[in-house]
Amino acid sequence: MIGVIFGVIVPYIAVAIFVAGVVYRFVNWANSAVPLKIPTTGGQQKSFPFIKRTIYDRFDSPYTWWETVGRMILEIFMFRSLLKNTRYYLDRASQKDARWLWLFAILFHYSLLLVLIRHSRFFLQPVPEFVEMLSEIEAFKGVFIPSVYISGLAIVAGLFLLWLRRIFLSRERTLSLPSDHFALILLLAITISGNIMRYFFKADLAAVKELLMNLMVFNVGKAAAIADSIEPIFYIHFALASFLLAYFPFSKLMHAGGVLFTPTRNMPNDNRAKRHINPWDSDPSVPILTKGITVSGMTFTSKKLDWDTYYSMYTDQLDEIAESDYKIVPEEL
């Protein structure tokens, strides 16, 4: 029974929620307009040719499409902004580089990537060679039996480090919400249960793969039969992972996709070369406030600010300027 619920029904629901949820979030974000081109410029802009612009400036203050792509890639794969992190020492009134968070984050995320790649062996038949190679390299094939996968341990370490930060650093503790702890605990539970299954209470991996291969082709009857034969320990790991999948699109974990949408990073700093059009104010010949804004049924309209209005207000003074032929000279004393 456990097998059927957690081995067949739950994963189907989780995957459906995950896929629909992520697509919904993407569409939802894309439905909002980007009124302004507002990149945060972290380096020297593109300027006169004689102004030196280094390779870092190209990525921190991108001008072309490719430079912007480069910035995003560095951001996503190197966590470049976190690498720049500093810490302010109140007692010394100065700041220094602080890269621990970067280190922990890199440790966790890359371990996660490796772990996911390794898990792809349960879904792909035949198992791709690079997956096998990667697993063998990180496990130092042959040293331990069964193989000890470094990424599997590193991910637990990384998660603990990230969590301990939230628990012991007063500032992080203050700004951590229950959901922040929850996400970390959930991931810890998944990774720890996975490790336990790997090293202590073993499950029959071939059966697990058979289950997944059958689930994929909606061979429900057979899958249910296989599911019942797998050790219960597997279902702790599997159910938690399913839950994470379903939880993902509706939590802060969605930062994985959101980072691609962030307007302060994914736009080039070429405002002066290419005009950005605001989709909800595409013909701004008259300012919105002059046209009027409506709040609670009332319309508020500002007076026109064109030259004629202005001239009519200060005619005398402007005429005086015109008389002096628009030229200002020092007064003769």
């Binding site: 439905n31 792809s120 039996i145 991996l205 291969m213």
Partner: protein, 142 residues
């Protein structure tokens, strides 16, 4: 929806990426593939279901036993399941499972694991001629 030029490919990449197993397995023609194990000649030293998950631990015990203790003590294994004694050696396994390809490799390939045992250890599938003992040296010295 704004920025369709980027968002739609992004969604497609996500879907293609997430559903990699589908197109990958479709291309390999391996949907629903399951390994088929050759039926062994006799009973296994332990319960076969237990062996499926834990045989590596057993073999590891055997190898340490056989190498580091040798002689009488080390090479004899008492089975939990049958209670019988077995000689701790890969050759003991080969007496029932006579093909690595049709037995071991089936599951190992299926879950993408390649133990390095066969770098050194003899398997029944080996192609080279087998040595027949000192008597066969008579062709050199007689």
């Amino acid at each position: 929806m704004y920025n369709k030029k980027y968002v739609i490919p992004l969604i497609l990449i996500f879907l293609v990426g997430f559903f990699t197993p589908y197109w990958y397995n479709a291309m390999a023609g391996s949907f629903g593939y399951e390994p088929e194990l050759k039926k062994p000649a006799g009973e296994c030293v332990e319960d076969s279901k237990w062996m499926a998950a834990n045989h590596m631990l057993l073999l590891q015990q055997w190898r340490t036993q056989a190498i580091r203790h040798g002689a009488e003590g080390g090479r004899i294994y008492h089975s939990f399941t049958t209670g019988e004694e077995y000689h701790a050696s890969t050759n003991t396994c080969w007496s029932c499972h006579d093909s690595k390809e049709e037995f071991c490799d089936q599951c190992h390939d299926y879950v993408g694991i390649h133990p390095e045992c066969w770098d050194c250890h003899y398997t029944p599938d080996i192609e080279k001629p087998q040595y027949q003992g000192t008597d066969s040296l008579s062709k050199f010295f007689s």
